[in-house]
Amino acid sequence: MIKNKKIPWESFIETRAQILKQWHTGASEALDFEQSIAYLKSVPDHKNFAKKLRLAKEAGVTLIQPRAGVALLEEHIALLKYLETAGEADFLPCTIDSYTRHNRYQNAEDGITESRKAKRSLLNGFPAVNYGVEGCKQVYEQVNLPVQARHGTPDARLLSEIIHASGWTSNEGGGISYNIPYAKNIGLEDTIRYWQYCDRLVGFYAEQGIELNREPYGPLTGTLVPPSISHTIAIIEAILAAEQGVKNITVGYGQGGNVIQDIAALQTLDELTNYYLKLFGYDDVYITTVFHQWMGGFPADEAKSMGIIAMASTVAALGKATKMITKTPHESQGIPTKEANAEGLRASKIVTQLLKEQRMRSSSELNEEKAMIKKEVNALIYACLNVGKGDLAEGVVEAFKAGFIDIPFAPSEMNAGKILPARDASGKIRILEFGNLAFDAEIKQFHQERLKERGTLENREVSFQMTIDDVYAVSEGVLVGKAKGEMYYED
């Protein structure tokens, strides 16, 4: 059974030899640690993800980062440059294509070839492994901002080796968050092990005096995920990363839609992650937060999408997220053009800048929400520790098996898939069906009461139909889904 234990150096090195053979680009000399360390040490502070995040947190400002990645290297670089200048991005991403995410490097290679022929990207991201360190270094060298890999890769070991050796100073992902929402039948133990490797790599660089950032992927399925559930995953992945020696971690959260719940979530995410890291003895980890603009279905209309983007930015700024991942007016349609991507960025930029001196202060509503989130996270973490007999890695695997932790709408068979979320009358995400979720009666009652309130108000049963209505709601322009045929009061 998997344990939350630092991978011994010899065993890491042994695995590494295997990993680097998975695709021919793994054979590059630039992957020799001597070379990669020297290269990473040459990264200036303003291109170092970890350092820039520290500065932002101290200044109390929310920095912005888009998603972006295309099949062809030159085009990818041109895209990033555009987002840096015309988009005023603070951080750059390289969003990796889905074949690479599933380690299908041959498919990705074909995708590159076909894209060259078609003269447009047929891949939904940048196939970093295929380009190898040489290609990825070009990306890093030709931009002036910190670069991060963003993906959804259950086994990102080769990818991680390549990107860090190329000067990319952050890597998104985690053994749970890049499995449950992104895979169907890959074991959790496996993916946790894979990501322990990725973390160990970052921990190794840390030992060499190189500070890299790691970002557990917060929003999970992006669809009505209650904050306590995504927080629990984020905290566990932060702890697993810290054990491998990671010193700079950004925990994430996807906008839910209720302003107060979202700000409560942002504040508790920071507070709880710090609390648990210290509790488990990881004293020197620097924590920042990332807020994802609405991750569910978008409306087709571009102006309305811009509305959501700026509204989300208001929440991120008032909640003092350190970073925000932006969406674009093309979200509902497909991968955005560079222009659309930059529009989303600039709308976000002005809002975060306008509000940088402001923050949401406590109120009884905010305090109640924060207290609930904390109570729920504590219950979930406790359940994991309990079934893991004190070990969080083992614990989380067992907790998923038992359904003590359960993520709505996830494709993975490792996930019980029994809980159903729905919004309460003010749009806060609550739980309708608990499955085996490790909540006590008091917590459950709180959720049930809130949903009953909504049911009474809307004069209907609290049922799966509410969940469905809520899934559609935002793309139809409201937050709380209304029963079919019911009049929306809007004019």
Partner: protein
């Protein structure tokens, strides 16, 4: 009973729409065989053969739909599914493209009906019922 196979093709993990399509088709009286996300053309075809389905509803959200759906009609015919209806929907190409053109491309590939992003599934069901004479 009208059996339809649904699923999400390729390396695609978008599960939300798939779960909702299952629910609504069930509600509307279909016998739904849901092979879920990350399904290959073979998975769809095998499921259709095994369950004697009349239609396959392919979802593709993540952008690789154009690559993933190539030769699907040919493979159906090879497997003996000569009369099966093929539907495709979701965000089936990369980026915001003119949908008329996209539709043509997929119709040429042998899909009977092609749906644009964010299609309301209930509207599509009307087409399907018509096509299958339900």
């Amino acid at each position: 009973m009208n059996t339809v196979v649904i699923g999400v093709i390729g390396a695609d993990v978008h599960a939300v729409g798939n779960k909702i399509i299952e629910h609504v088709l069930n509600e509307q009286g279909f016998n739904v065989v849901n092979i879920g996300v990350l399904s290959s053309q073979e998975d769809f075809i095998n499921a259709a053969i095994e369950t004697d389905a009349q239609a396959i509803l392919v979802s593709s959200l993540y952008g690789h739909g154009e690559i993933d759906c190539k030769y699907m009609r040919e493979k159906c015919i090879e497997a003996g599914l000569t009369k099966i209806k093929l539907y495709v929907g979701g965000n089936i190409v990369v980026g915001k493209q003119d949908f008329k053109e996209v539709e043509q491309r997929f119709k040429k590939m042998g899909f009977n009906r092609v749906y644009p992003p964010g299609t309301n599934i209930e509207r599509a069901i009307k087409d399907i019922k018509g096509d299958l004479n339900v």
